[in-house]
Symmetry: C2
């Protein structure tokens, strides 16, 4: 019988461990994990409004502002005014677009190596169980 606090403690630990590994890998590109998350997002969806980004990533607006300011300084992205003058539209720089495939591949390899002990079925099951956490009694979470 496993105690609930053991589960949450280990969940926390593993996430810290993973973040550390990702940051270690990204160091050579002078990037950090949450910056990478945003780059990945922009690669997937193309130019986005700041609001689109933080809503998609499920973080707060100020957190995203701060990270984007840093990324603009280090020339990963640009932020231009939208037709609605309140909005900022975020775009990858050409330098970012050039490096993206390389970084994407090395992150992919790292992630695969972190999951190498789990079969596809186990990964799917893990994903399913993970998604159930926080779902209230009576509700149902459907994983697509």
């Amino acid at each position: 019988m496993i105690s609930t606090s053991d589960i949450f403690h280990n969940l926390h630990q593993q996430v810290r461990f993973i973040t550390k590994e990702v940051n270690e890998l990204l160091k050579q590109y002078h990037l950090y994990s949450s910056q990478w998350t945003i780059l990945y997002c922009l690669d997937q969806f193309g130019p986005m409004k700041q609001t689109d980004i933080w809503k998609y990533l499920n973080v707060e607006a100020p957190t995203t502002t701060r990270t984007l300011v840093r990324m603009e300084k280090s020339n990963w992205i640009t932020r231009t005014e939208g037709s609605d003058k309140r909005e900022r539209i975020v775009r990858l720089t050409s330098e970012a677009e050039d490096l993206l495939p390389i970084i994407k591949e090395s992150i992919q390899k790292l992630e695969e190596s972190l999951l190498s002990q789990l079969s596809s079925e186990e990964q799917a099951h893990f994903y399913y169980l993970l998604k159930q956490i926080g779902v209230k009694k009576g509700e149902r979470s459907i994983v697509y």
Copy 2:
């Protein structure tokens, strides 16, 4: 087929969500999640050296120093010099000891509610799969 980045993205999200919930609950005690982790630790093991704490929690020493300083200010713990004058021994205050059982119970209830969609077997399996992450090929992780 689930992409590895989906798994890690959701892992990250869930941990943020859980931490937010715990912080929300702890707000009434003017406590924060990682302070609670330390209290829980001291409750389990009794007085500990700072080094024991950060090694057990698997975080860095400066992180622990900072949190302990805050907890000392808010009267959750004391730090006294050990016989080895480099060491600091951390103890719960009597106020902390009084409140601990109450807080422990409400955290326990929160954790159970977060896991309410998972049976004991699923929880155990989740724990097992979680532990496999980061384990290198060829190595083996044994869960006790």
